[in-house]
């Protein structure tokens, strides 16, 4: 790891000021990706701005059917929060399956979505639910947040403050995990609202995506046979040592059908 300056500001103003006083600063959230990538010298920022002392970025609350989760809330807190378990159990279940217990005690929701790893779990919940990302500069609608491979619409000095999820009627997250890394080979987030059905897929391509063609059909007829009947034309799936693209294509179909049948029984 190369040398860097380190700051642990107490509020957003101090954080932004510290960030902008160096050419090549990086935000440090839980560090579960950044620290390993710095060890490998794939990342060598001149300064790290550690967000862990900013209380404003932590915590979970519910108001008017909106579940708000602070960016620096760790996965273990989301998994164990009674507010999350009662209002959006699919999200608690997703958080409880990230990495391992030690990773869940450090990794954060804000860090995960800002990193936008193509096989991370949280991005599928952001797209698979009606959600908004509240940053230090603006509000970003979920649909405009993820830009592609490890890329988001955040400015370099922009910071996620919290994520607001509109609570659905029902939702489910299913993951076919790599047995070693626990990253998703395919992960499906399916949600039902009174006016919309959403299906988001992670792990399968270079970036999380929604299956719009299928959502429309499922909204009119929430039944697994719709999956067989719909031509949702997914292309450019990942083809790697873990699974080839045909295998992923098949998994997507099987897992969406399984998710539908589980939600039907609820």
């Amino acid at each position: 790891m190369y040398a860097f300056e380190y700051f642990a500001p107490k509020n957003l103003q101090e954080a932004t000021k510290a960030f902008n006083s160096f050419n090549d600063s990086k935000w440090l959230a839980g560090g579960m990706t950044l620290i390993p990538s710095m060890k490998l010298r794939m990342n060598a920022p001149s300064a790290l701005i550690d967000l862990s002392s900013i209380e404003q970025l932590k915590g979970i609350s519910i108001k008017n059917n909106i579940l708000s989760i602070g960016a620096m809330t760790i996965h273990a807190d989301v998994a164990n929060s009674l507010d999350v378990i009662n209002s959006l159990p699919a999200l608690a279940s997703l958080a409880s399956g990230i990495g391992d217990p030690q990773v869940r005690n450090r990794g954060t929701i804000g860090g995960s979505i800002a990193n936008n790893d193509p096989a991370a779990d949280y991005p599928s919940a952001i797209l698979g639910l009606k959600s908004k990302i509240i940053t230090s500069k603006k509000e970003i609608d979920a649909g405009n947040f993820f830009n592609g491979f490890f890329s988001t619409s955040l400015d370099t000095d922009e910071l996620i403050v919290k994520i607001n999820f509109q609570i659905p009627e029902s939702a489910i997250y299913l993951k076919f995990a790599n047995p070693v890394s626990r990253y998703a080979i395919v992960g499906i987030f399916l949600s039902k609202y009174h006016d919309e059905v959403r299906v988001a897929v992670t792990g399968a391509a270079s970036c999380v995506f929604r299956v719009n063609e299928l959502e429309e059909g499922l909204f009119h007829d929430f039944c697994s046979s719709v999956v067989d009947k719909t031509d949702y034309g997914i292309t450019n799936l990942n083809d790697d040592i873990h699974a080839n693209s045909e295998y992923r294509r098949y998994l997507i179909k099987v897992m969406i059908k399984k998710a539908i049948s589980i939600l039907q029984k609820k």
Binding site: A8, A76, P101, Q102, N105
Partner: protein, 152 residues
């Protein structure tokens, strides 16, 4: 940067390079070599310690980020010459062979029982997701943890 923290109940204050990992700080600066570094890539769990009461991988955290925290390492589990209940159960159940992964496994196991005092076997196996043992095949580790849970 100068950091101050409590380790196994003892306050320490030391100058560290910003890039020093917590695991290296514990081993090299504080001389507590019970915390091991196996893979150095957050996979194996040999370096697990408790940070403010929660199990974390100390090879994937900066020492400077542990400023003002409370850390417990394997050396802090027992204050006397006697083994702690978990250590004793590992000894009795032959839950280790080479012993390299053992400090991390025990720190994870203690964390599990703190949060879930009566886990099922499946929950114990899930809780050990982040710890690799290349000798035992895990069966005796699971037995040792369940024994402590039953006795507690």
């Amino acid at each position: 940067m100068r950091i101050s923290l409590t380790i196994n109940g003892n306050p320490v204050s030391e100058d560290v390079d910003n890039r020093t990992l917590l695991a290296d700080f514990i081993r090299n600066t504080l001389g507590l070599t019970g915390t091991h570094v196996g893979c150095d890539t957050s996979q194996c769990g040999c370096c697990v310690v408790h940070l403010n009461g929660e199990a974390i991988k100390s090879c994937t955290m900066l020492a400077v980020a542990a400023n003002n925290s409370e850390i417990t390492t394997i050396e802090g589990l027992s204050n006397s010459e006697d083994l702690s209940a978990m250590q004793e159960s590992f000894r009795r159940n032959h839950a280790l062979q080479c012993g390299y992964c053992t400090p991390g496994v025990i720190m994870s196991a203690v964390d599990l029982l703190k949060n879930n005092p009566k886990p099922t076997e499946e929950e114990v196996r899930d809780a050990l997701e982040g710890n690799l043992c290349r000798c035992t095949g895990y069966h005796n580790i699971i037995k040792a943890i369940l024994d402590v849970s039953k006795a507690g």
